[in-house]
Symmetry: C2
Subunit: 141 residues, 2 copies
DNA sequence: CTCCTCAATGATACAAAGTATCAATGGTAT
DNA sequence: ATACCATTGATACTTTGTATCATTGAGGAG
Protein backbone atom coordinates (compact mmCIF):
# COMPACT_ATOMS: atom_id res chain seq x y z
CA UNK A 1 0.00 0.00 0.00
CA UNK A 2 1.05 3.53 -0.79
CA UNK A 3 2.45 5.37 2.23
CA UNK A 4 0.26 8.33 1.36
CA UNK A 5 -2.81 6.11 1.52
CA UNK A 6 -1.66 4.68 4.83
CA UNK A 7 -1.19 8.12 6.32
CA UNK A 8 -4.75 9.08 5.45
CA UNK A 9 -6.15 5.85 6.86
CA UNK A 10 -4.26 6.54 10.08
CA UNK A 11 -5.91 9.93 10.40
CA UNK A 12 -9.31 8.34 9.84
CA UNK A 13 -8.71 5.73 12.55
CA UNK A 14 -7.13 8.19 14.98
CA UNK A 15 -10.30 10.23 14.84
CA UNK A 16 -12.39 7.25 15.86
CA UNK A 17 -13.78 6.32 12.47
CA UNK A 18 -13.83 2.71 11.34
CA UNK A 19 -11.53 1.29 8.74
CA UNK A 20 -13.91 -0.28 6.24
CA UNK A 21 -13.21 -1.89 2.91
CA UNK A 22 -15.21 0.79 1.13
CA UNK A 23 -13.12 3.55 2.69
CA UNK A 24 -9.94 1.72 1.82
CA UNK A 25 -11.02 1.40 -1.81
CA UNK A 26 -12.11 5.03 -2.04
CA UNK A 27 -9.00 6.47 -0.45
CA UNK A 28 -6.75 4.29 -2.57
CA UNK A 29 -8.51 5.41 -5.72
CA UNK A 30 -8.32 9.02 -4.60
CA UNK A 31 -4.58 8.95 -3.95
CA UNK A 32 -3.99 7.32 -7.32
CA UNK A 33 -6.07 9.90 -9.14
CA UNK A 34 -4.98 12.96 -11.01
CA UNK A 35 -4.68 16.34 -9.32
CA UNK A 36 -8.43 16.69 -8.95
CA UNK A 37 -11.49 14.46 -9.32
CA UNK A 38 -15.23 14.80 -9.31
CA UNK A 39 -17.20 12.74 -6.78
CA UNK A 40 -18.87 10.76 -9.57
CA UNK A 41 -15.59 10.29 -11.44
CA UNK A 42 -14.12 8.88 -8.28
CA UNK A 43 -17.14 6.61 -7.77
CA UNK A 44 -16.62 5.18 -11.26
CA UNK A 45 -12.94 4.66 -10.60
CA UNK A 46 -13.58 2.97 -7.28
CA UNK A 47 -16.09 0.58 -8.85
CA UNK A 48 -13.50 -0.66 -11.32
CA UNK A 49 -11.68 -2.21 -8.36
CA UNK A 50 -14.56 -2.65 -5.90
CA UNK A 51 -17.88 -2.89 -7.76
CA UNK A 52 -19.95 -3.16 -4.59
CA UNK A 53 -19.18 0.37 -3.38
CA UNK A 54 -22.18 2.69 -3.68
CA UNK A 55 -22.23 6.24 -4.90
CA UNK A 56 -23.57 7.49 -1.58
CA UNK A 57 -20.59 6.04 0.22
CA UNK A 58 -18.20 7.91 -2.02
CA UNK A 59 -20.01 11.18 -1.30
CA UNK A 60 -20.03 10.45 2.42
CA UNK A 61 -16.38 9.51 2.50
CA UNK A 62 -15.40 12.68 0.68
CA UNK A 63 -17.40 14.68 3.22
CA UNK A 64 -15.58 12.90 6.00
CA UNK A 65 -12.18 13.51 4.44
CA UNK A 66 -13.14 17.12 4.01
CA UNK A 67 -13.96 17.41 7.68
CA UNK A 68 -10.63 15.84 8.55
CA UNK A 69 -8.90 18.41 6.36
CA UNK A 70 -7.53 15.79 3.98
CA UNK A 71 -9.46 16.89 0.96
CA UNK A 72 -10.97 20.15 -0.27
CA UNK A 73 -13.67 20.74 -2.89
CA UNK A 74 -12.94 23.50 -5.36
CA UNK A 75 -14.60 24.86 -8.41
CA UNK A 76 -12.83 24.03 -11.64
CA UNK A 77 -14.61 25.94 -14.36
CA UNK A 78 -18.17 25.01 -13.53
CA UNK A 79 -20.41 22.01 -12.87
CA UNK A 80 -19.42 19.43 -10.29
CA UNK A 81 -17.10 20.05 -7.36
CA UNK A 82 -13.54 18.85 -7.84
CA UNK A 83 -11.72 17.44 -4.85
CA UNK A 84 -8.06 18.12 -4.29
CA UNK A 85 -5.82 16.38 -1.80
CA UNK A 86 -4.65 18.69 0.92
CA UNK A 87 -2.91 15.93 2.83
CA UNK A 88 0.41 16.42 1.08
CA UNK A 89 0.50 20.03 2.27
CA UNK A 90 -0.91 22.97 0.45
CA UNK A 91 -1.75 24.21 -2.98
CA UNK A 92 -0.86 27.30 -4.94
CA UNK A 93 -2.61 27.83 -8.24
CA UNK A 94 -2.51 30.34 -11.04
CA UNK A 95 -5.94 30.00 -12.65
CA UNK A 96 -6.89 31.42 -16.03
CA UNK A 97 -10.32 33.00 -16.04
CA UNK A 98 -10.82 32.27 -19.72
CA UNK A 99 -9.47 28.80 -20.49
CA UNK A 100 -9.67 27.62 -16.86
CA UNK A 101 -6.16 26.23 -17.11
CA UNK A 102 -4.25 25.76 -13.87
CA UNK A 103 -0.56 26.34 -13.27
CA UNK A 104 0.68 24.97 -9.98
CA UNK A 105 3.68 26.16 -8.01
CA UNK A 106 5.22 25.04 -4.77
CA UNK A 107 6.58 27.99 -2.87
CA UNK A 108 4.95 28.32 0.47
CA UNK A 109 5.83 31.89 1.20
CA UNK A 110 2.95 33.02 3.30
CA UNK A 111 3.58 30.59 6.12
CA UNK A 112 4.43 33.20 8.70
CA UNK A 113 1.46 35.38 8.08
CA UNK A 114 -0.92 32.49 7.88
CA UNK A 115 0.17 31.39 11.30
CA UNK A 116 -0.26 34.83 12.71
CA UNK A 117 -3.81 34.99 11.43
CA UNK A 118 -4.54 31.58 12.87
CA UNK A 119 -3.30 32.70 16.26
CA UNK A 120 -5.35 35.87 16.15
CA UNK A 121 -8.58 33.97 15.49
CA UNK A 122 -7.72 30.90 17.58
CA UNK A 123 -7.93 28.76 14.50
CA UNK A 124 -6.29 25.34 14.11
CA UNK A 125 -4.77 25.13 10.65
CA UNK A 126 -4.53 21.97 8.63
CA UNK A 127 -3.65 23.39 5.23
CA UNK A 128 -4.14 26.28 2.87
CA UNK A 129 -4.97 27.03 -0.71
CA UNK A 130 -3.90 30.11 -2.64
CA UNK A 131 -5.59 30.86 -5.93
CA UNK A 132 -4.33 33.65 -8.13
CA UNK A 133 -6.77 34.60 -10.87
CA UNK A 134 -6.19 36.31 -14.15
CA UNK A 135 -5.33 35.49 -17.73
CA UNK A 136 -2.64 33.11 -18.85
CA UNK A 137 -0.05 33.87 -21.48
CA UNK A 138 -2.17 32.44 -24.29
CA UNK A 139 -5.50 33.97 -23.39
CA UNK A 140 -4.02 37.42 -22.95
CA UNK A 141 -3.30 38.28 -26.54
CA UNK B 1 -26.20 53.67 -9.29
CA UNK B 2 -23.52 52.28 -7.06
CA UNK B 3 -20.01 53.10 -8.32
CA UNK B 4 -19.06 49.47 -7.80
CA UNK B 5 -21.88 48.43 -10.11
CA UNK B 6 -20.79 50.99 -12.68
CA UNK B 7 -17.23 49.77 -12.62
CA UNK B 8 -18.34 46.23 -13.38
CA UNK B 9 -20.62 47.38 -16.19
CA UNK B 10 -17.68 49.26 -17.69
CA UNK B 11 -15.58 46.12 -17.75
CA UNK B 12 -18.41 44.26 -19.45
CA UNK B 13 -18.76 46.92 -22.14
CA UNK B 14 -15.01 47.37 -22.61
CA UNK B 15 -14.78 43.70 -23.44
CA UNK B 16 -17.33 44.06 -26.20
CA UNK B 17 -20.35 42.64 -24.42
CA UNK B 18 -23.69 44.39 -24.61
CA UNK B 19 -25.21 46.33 -21.79
CA UNK B 20 -28.63 44.75 -21.41
CA UNK B 21 -31.30 45.37 -18.81
CA UNK B 22 -30.98 41.80 -17.57
CA UNK B 23 -27.25 42.23 -16.97
CA UNK B 24 -27.83 45.51 -15.23
CA UNK B 25 -30.39 43.92 -12.90
CA UNK B 26 -28.18 40.93 -12.16
CA UNK B 27 -25.04 42.92 -11.48
CA UNK B 28 -26.91 45.38 -9.28
CA UNK B 29 -28.38 42.52 -7.25
CA UNK B 30 -24.98 40.89 -7.00
CA UNK B 31 -23.24 43.99 -5.69
CA UNK B 32 -25.99 44.50 -3.12
CA UNK B 33 -25.81 40.91 -1.93
CA UNK B 34 -24.08 39.47 1.08
CA UNK B 35 -20.52 38.20 0.88
CA UNK B 36 -21.49 35.18 -1.20
CA UNK B 37 -24.56 34.02 -3.11
CA UNK B 38 -25.77 30.95 -4.90
CA UNK B 39 -26.78 31.28 -8.54
CA UNK B 40 -30.38 30.43 -7.70
CA UNK B 41 -30.43 32.74 -4.67
CA UNK B 42 -29.28 35.52 -6.93
CA UNK B 43 -31.93 34.64 -9.51
CA UNK B 44 -34.62 34.98 -6.84
CA UNK B 45 -33.23 38.28 -5.70
CA UNK B 46 -33.03 39.63 -9.24
CA UNK B 47 -36.64 38.67 -9.89
CA UNK B 48 -37.84 40.78 -6.99
CA UNK B 49 -36.77 43.83 -8.96
CA UNK B 50 -36.96 42.50 -12.50
CA UNK B 51 -39.42 39.60 -12.72
CA UNK B 52 -38.79 38.95 -16.37
CA UNK B 53 -35.19 37.80 -15.95
CA UNK B 54 -34.77 34.06 -16.48
CA UNK B 55 -32.70 31.65 -14.48
CA UNK B 56 -30.57 30.75 -17.48
CA UNK B 57 -29.57 34.35 -17.91
CA UNK B 58 -28.35 34.55 -14.34
CA UNK B 59 -26.23 31.46 -14.86
CA UNK B 60 -24.87 32.82 -18.12
CA UNK B 61 -24.11 36.21 -16.64
CA UNK B 62 -22.27 34.66 -13.72
CA UNK B 63 -20.19 32.64 -16.18
CA UNK B 64 -19.40 35.80 -18.07
CA UNK B 65 -18.41 37.69 -14.93
CA UNK B 66 -16.28 34.76 -13.96
CA UNK B 67 -14.45 34.91 -17.28
CA UNK B 68 -13.89 38.63 -16.78
CA UNK B 69 -12.40 37.91 -13.36
CA UNK B 70 -15.10 39.85 -11.54
CA UNK B 71 -16.58 36.92 -9.72
CA UNK B 72 -15.32 33.58 -8.45
CA UNK B 73 -17.28 30.44 -7.54
CA UNK B 74 -16.24 28.70 -4.35
CA UNK B 75 -17.55 25.72 -2.45
CA UNK B 76 -19.10 26.55 0.84
CA UNK B 77 -19.72 23.33 2.65
CA UNK B 78 -21.36 21.48 -0.18
CA UNK B 79 -24.20 21.74 -2.66
CA UNK B 80 -24.38 24.75 -4.91
CA UNK B 81 -21.49 26.97 -5.89
CA UNK B 82 -21.27 30.27 -4.03
CA UNK B 83 -20.07 33.29 -5.92
CA UNK B 84 -17.83 35.90 -4.36
CA UNK B 85 -17.00 39.30 -5.80
CA UNK B 86 -13.36 39.56 -6.73
CA UNK B 87 -13.76 43.00 -8.24
CA UNK B 88 -13.10 44.85 -5.00
CA UNK B 89 -9.73 43.18 -4.70
CA UNK B 90 -9.04 39.93 -3.01
CA UNK B 91 -10.29 37.56 -0.38
CA UNK B 92 -8.68 35.87 2.60
CA UNK B 93 -10.70 33.24 4.40
CA UNK B 94 -10.25 31.04 7.41
CA UNK B 95 -12.58 28.11 6.73
CA UNK B 96 -13.65 25.56 9.31
CA UNK B 97 -13.62 21.99 8.00
CA UNK B 98 -16.36 20.95 10.40
CA UNK B 99 -18.98 23.70 10.67
CA UNK B 100 -18.00 25.31 7.35
CA UNK B 101 -17.95 28.72 8.97
CA UNK B 102 -15.88 31.42 7.30
CA UNK B 103 -13.83 34.12 9.00
CA UNK B 104 -12.66 36.83 6.66
CA UNK B 105 -9.66 39.08 7.11
CA UNK B 106 -8.26 41.88 5.02
CA UNK B 107 -4.49 41.86 5.16
CA UNK B 108 -3.00 41.53 1.73
CA UNK B 109 0.43 40.44 2.76
CA UNK B 110 1.61 38.33 -0.09
CA UNK B 111 1.33 40.97 -2.78
CA UNK B 112 5.03 41.02 -3.59
CA UNK B 113 5.40 37.30 -3.90
CA UNK B 114 2.19 36.90 -5.84
CA UNK B 115 3.50 39.37 -8.37
CA UNK B 116 6.77 37.56 -8.67
CA UNK B 117 4.95 34.34 -9.42
CA UNK B 118 2.85 36.07 -12.02
CA UNK B 119 5.95 37.43 -13.70
CA UNK B 120 7.63 34.06 -13.72
CA UNK B 121 4.71 32.44 -15.53
CA UNK B 122 3.79 35.45 -17.66
CA UNK B 123 0.41 35.57 -16.02
CA UNK B 124 -1.84 38.63 -15.87
CA UNK B 125 -3.34 38.88 -12.40
CA UNK B 126 -6.77 40.23 -11.68
CA UNK B 127 -7.22 39.04 -8.10
CA UNK B 128 -6.44 36.33 -5.62
CA UNK B 129 -8.09 34.15 -3.03
CA UNK B 130 -6.41 32.65 0.00
CA UNK B 131 -8.22 29.90 1.88
CA UNK B 132 -6.81 28.65 5.15
CA UNK B 133 -8.37 25.39 6.28
CA UNK B 134 -8.63 23.88 9.70
CA UNK B 135 -10.92 23.89 12.72
CA UNK B 136 -12.39 26.96 14.32
CA UNK B 137 -12.29 27.69 18.02
CA UNK B 138 -15.65 26.02 18.66
CA UNK B 139 -15.18 22.90 16.59
CA UNK B 140 -11.75 22.19 18.07
CA UNK B 141 -12.77 21.07 21.53
C1' DC C 1 -12.16 -16.80 19.15
C1' DT C 2 -17.18 -15.62 19.37
C1' DC C 3 -20.74 -12.53 20.19
C1' DC C 4 -22.86 -8.06 20.20
C1' DT C 5 -23.48 -3.41 19.14
C1' DC C 6 -23.77 0.43 16.52
C1' DA C 7 -21.19 2.95 12.87
C1' DA C 8 -21.25 2.44 8.23
C1' DT C 9 -23.15 0.83 3.94
C1' DG C 10 -25.82 0.58 -0.42
C1' DA C 11 -30.31 0.56 -2.71
C1' DT C 12 -33.85 3.51 -3.74
C1' DA C 13 -36.12 7.58 -4.40
C1' DC C 14 -35.88 12.29 -4.50
C1' DA C 15 -34.47 17.39 -4.71
C1' DA C 16 -31.44 20.70 -6.29
C1' DA C 17 -28.10 22.51 -9.47
C1' DG C 18 -26.51 23.12 -13.94
C1' DT C 19 -26.91 22.60 -19.27
C1' DA C 20 -28.81 22.42 -24.14
C1' DT C 21 -31.80 24.27 -27.51
C1' DC C 22 -34.12 27.53 -30.21
C1' DA C 23 -37.49 30.94 -31.60
C1' DA C 24 -38.15 35.70 -30.20
C1' DT C 25 -36.23 40.08 -28.68
C1' DG C 26 -33.70 44.25 -28.27
C1' DG C 27 -28.69 46.72 -28.27
C1' DT C 28 -25.95 49.03 -31.13
C1' DA C 29 -23.46 50.18 -35.41
C1' DT C 30 -24.61 52.13 -39.65
C1' DA D 1 -34.84 54.38 -38.69
C1' DT D 2 -33.09 49.94 -39.99
C1' DA D 3 -30.88 45.57 -39.85
C1' DC D 4 -27.95 42.39 -37.86
C1' DC D 5 -26.63 39.40 -34.51
C1' DA D 6 -25.67 38.94 -29.50
C1' DT D 7 -28.59 37.99 -25.93
C1' DT D 8 -32.59 36.38 -23.84
C1' DG D 9 -36.22 33.37 -21.56
C1' DA D 10 -39.16 29.31 -21.89
C1' DT D 11 -38.86 24.56 -21.85
C1' DA D 12 -37.10 20.24 -21.25
C1' DC D 13 -33.42 17.73 -19.80
C1' DT D 14 -28.99 15.73 -17.46
C1' DT D 15 -26.06 15.78 -13.75
C1' DT D 16 -24.94 16.41 -9.04
C1' DG D 17 -26.06 16.13 -4.37
C1' DT D 18 -29.29 14.56 -0.33
C1' DA D 19 -32.62 11.81 2.63
C1' DT D 20 -34.13 7.48 4.28
C1' DC D 21 -33.84 3.02 6.08
C1' DA D 22 -33.24 -1.94 6.34
C1' DT D 23 -28.98 -4.60 6.26
C1' DT D 24 -24.13 -5.48 7.13
C1' DG D 25 -19.66 -5.91 9.10
C1' DA D 26 -15.67 -3.60 12.08
C1' DG D 27 -13.90 -3.91 16.34
C1' DG D 28 -14.42 -3.98 21.45
C1' DA D 29 -16.04 -7.00 25.49
C1' DG D 30 -15.90 -11.26 27.45
Amino acid sequence: MDSETKKILDVVVENGYRLTSARLAIITALVNSAEHVTADDLADKVRQQAPHVGRMTVYRTLDLLCELGIVRPIYQGTGAAHYILMAKGSHHHLICNRCHGVIEFEECFAAMLIEEMAKRFDFHISSHLLEIHGLCENCYE
